[in-house]
C-alpha cells in the first residue's frame, strides 16, 4: 500500500516475529492412525475389485471359446456343440418389452400422482366442498361431496402408508414376486406359464423401483418451475405435463433403464413362474404372441446349462454369462450417458 501511495519511498523493513507475537508454524507431522485407516479402506476396496476381476476372467476364459455368431443365432439343443443362445436372447427381448409396457406407464403415473398431486394443499377444494354442502346439495351429489371430503381428510395418511410400502416392496426378495406372479397371473388370471406371465411378474417386480426413481427425478425439478407455470395461469396438470415432466424425463429414463437391467438378470421369479423346461422352440419376437410362447430368458438358459452334468455345457453357460454381462454393461452405459448428457444444473 505504501509503495502505491508513494512510489519513491522504499517499503518499510520487516519487523521481527517477536514483535508481532505470532507463533511459528508447526512442521508437517505423521499421523499413523490416519495412514492405517487409509490402507484399510484401500485394502477392502481391492478385495472387492479382485473378486469381480476373478469372476469376469474365469467366465471369459471358460466361455470365450464357445462365443460365435452361430452361438447367438442357434436354437437350444441337447448336444452342447450345437446348442445356441438364440431362444434365450429372443425370450429376454420379449420379456423386456412386456415388462416395460406394463411397468413404465403405471410406475410413472403413480410417481406423478404421489409426487405432484397427492401431497398438494387441499384447503381450497375442502373449503369449496364445505360451502356447497352448506349451500344445500342434495341426494347423490351430497353423498359424493361427503365422500370427497372424507377422502381429502384421510388422504395424507393413505399416501404416507403407500410411501412406506413402496420402499418396502423394493426390498422384497424377488422369489416372493415369483410366487405372487404364479398365484395371480397363472393361478387367478389363467395365463399359461409363458413369456407373458414372466414379463408381467417382472413388471410387478420393478414397479416399485421405477416409482422411486421417477419420484426422485420429479423431485429434482425445482418447484419454482411449476409455480412459474401456474403463475401464468396454467392448471397444475398443464404445469406438470408441459414443464415438470419433460424436465424430469431424462432422470426417469435413467431410472427405468437401471430397473430394466435389474429385471433382465432376474432368475428366481422366472423359475417359480415358468419352471425350468428344456425346449428347442424359438420364441417369436412379436410380444402379442407372448401368451403362447414358452418362458425362455438368458438367466434361465444359463441356469439350465450349469445344471447339466456334461462338462461342455459349462463352457456354453459361461458364454451365455458373457452375453448377459455385455447386455447389462450396454444398458448401464446408456443410462450413464443419458444422465450425463441431459442432467440439468438448476
Amino acid at each position: 500500500m505504501s509503495t502505491l501511495d508513494a512510489p519513491g519511498t522504499p517499503p518499510p523493513p520487516p519487523r521481527s516475529a517477536a514483535a508481532s507475537g505470532v507463533r511459528p508454524l508447526a512442521r508437517k507431522r505423521s499421523r499413523p492412525s490416519e495412514q492405517l485407516f487409509k490402507w484399510l479402506v484401500m485394502g477392502l476396496t481391492a478385495i472387492t475389485l479382485a473378486m469381480l476381476v476373478w469372476l469376469i476372467t474365469s467366465v471369459l476364459v471358460r466361455g470365450a471359446g464357445s462365443l460365435s455368431w452361430a452361438f447367438l443365432t442357434d436354437k437350444p439343443s441337447s448336444n452342447p456343440a450345437r446348442a445356441g443362445f438364440n431362444s434365450a436372447l429372443r425370450g429376454s427381448v420379449v420379456l423386456m418389452i412386456i415388462t416395460l409396457t406394463f411397468a413404465w406407464p403405471i410406475g410413472v403415473a403413480a410417481a406423478l400422482y404421489l409426487e405432484k398431486f397427492a401431497t398438494q394443499s387441499a384447503a381450497g377444494a375442502e373449503r369449496k366442498l364445505r360451502e356447497r354442502l352448506d349451500g344445500g346439495a342434495r341426494g347423490v351429489r351430497r353423498a359424493w361431496m361427503r365422500g370427497r371430503l372424507w377422502w381429502l381428510r384421510v388422504r395424507p395418511g393413505v399416501v404416507h402408508m403407500v410411501d412406506v410400502n413402496i420402499s418396502n416392496l423394493a426390498a422384497v426378495p424377488s422369489i416372493i414376486y415369483g410366487l405372487l406372479g404364479l398365484a395371480i397371473f397363472v393361478g387367478i388370471l389363467g395365463i399359461s406359464k409363458s413369456l407373458l406371465a414372466g414379463g408381467l411378474t417382472l413388471a410387478v417386480l420393478i414397479l416399485p423401483i421405477i416409482i422411486i426413481a421417477a419420484r426422485e427425478a420429479l423431485r429434482a425439478v425445482p418447484v419454482s418451475i411449476e409455480q412459474g407455470a401456474m403463475a401464468l395461469g396454467a392448471t397444475r396438470w398443464q404445469a406438470v405435463r408441459s414443464q415438470v415432466f419433460p424436465a424430469a424425463l431424462p432422470g426417469i429414463l435413467t431410472g427405468t433403464i437401471l430397473a430394466m437391467s435389474r429385471a433382465i438378470g432376474e432368475t428366481a421369479p422366472l423359475i417359480v413362474v415358468g419352471g425350468i423346461v428344456f425346449g428347442t422352440a424359438v420364441p417369436s419376437l412379436n410380444p402379442l404372441d407372448a401368451g403362447n410362447e414358452a418362458l425362455f430368458a438368458m438367466p434361465l438358459q444359463i441356469y439350465f446349462w450349469t445344471d447339466q452334468p456334461q462338462e461342455a455345457f459349462q463352457a456354453i453357460a459361461a458364454a451365455g454369462i458373457i452375453v448377459l454381462l455385455a447386455t447389462l454393461l450396454v444398458m448401464n452405459l446408456v443410462a450413464i450417458i443419458l444422465r450425463n448428457r441431459y442432467s440439468k444444473r438448476w
Binding site: 398438494q120 369449496k128 418451475i225 401456474m230 403463475a231 395461469g233 414443464q243
Partner: protein
Amino acid sequence: MTTNVDPDKTSESAPIEIHLSAGAAAEAAPSAGAAATAAPDQPDLGPAVFQIRDMGVWYGNHEAVRGVSMDIPQNAITAIIGPSGCGKSTALRCLNRMNDLVPGARVTGQVLFGDDDLLSADVDPVDLRGRIGMVFQKPNPFPKSIKDNLEFGMKVNGIKATAERVEQALRDAALWDEVKDRLKAEAFSLSGGQQQRLCIARAIAVEPEVILMDEPCSALDPIATLAIEDLMKKLAERYTLVVVTHNMQQAARISDFTAFFMLGELVEFDLTSKIFTKPEKKITEDYITGRFG
C-alpha cells in the same frame, strides 16, 4: 385484533422492535379494528385495482399477515417494503392466490378485484392467475427455448401464439434486440438479468392486468437491476405493478406508492415521496432511516 403484539413473544427476539412495534400497534389498532368493511385509513391515491380488506394469512397455527387493509392504485408502481419475515411476500402472493399452493396456508378477509372478492372459494384461481401475472425472486425460466417460454403462457390462456406476439412481448420486456437472432436458444443460456427479463416478457405475453413482482432484482447484479428497474417504470404506463422489495433505495427510485409492513401488519401506506420524507409513524421513519431492519 384485540392484542396486536404478544409482549412475551417479542421480548425474546429484538428489544428495539418491540418497543417500536408496540407503539405502531397501538396507533394502528383503532383503524384496523373497524376496517372490515369501511374504507381503510389511507389517503386518496386514485382509482384502486385491489381493495384489500382486513386480509390475514395463517400458515398452520402461525399468523404471518394480519389485518391488512389497503387500496392499491391502478397503473402505478406500488412498492411493499419491510424487514425480512414481515409478511410482505406472503401478502403479495395472496393477490394471485399463489398461497393456495402452500399446504396449510389459509387466507382470511377480502381482496376486491373489480367488484369480486378474489379470495372467494368460487373464484377460479387458474383464470385469475392469467389476469394477474407474477415475477419471482429468482429467475425461473422453463428449461426450454426462449420462444417456448413465451408461447407456453399464451397457449394455456387460449391466446394464439404468433411470431408477432412473441416479438412484441420481448420488445416490451426490452429483451428483443439481445435475443432476436436466437429465439430457439435455451433460456438457460441467457444471463441472470436476461432470464429475469424473459420471465417478465413471459408474464406480459399473456396480457395480464396486473404484474406482481416478488423481489425481482434480489438475485441480480447492479447493472441488470438497473435494466429491470427501467423496464418496470416503462411497464407502469400500461400495467399496475405491485413490487415487493427489501431494497429501500429501489422502492424510493421506482415506486409511486409505498407500503411499509412490519411483523405481519401494514404500518403505513402513502405516496412514496411522503413515506421517504415525512412518514406519519415514528417506526416507519426509524426503518427508512436505517435505525433497524
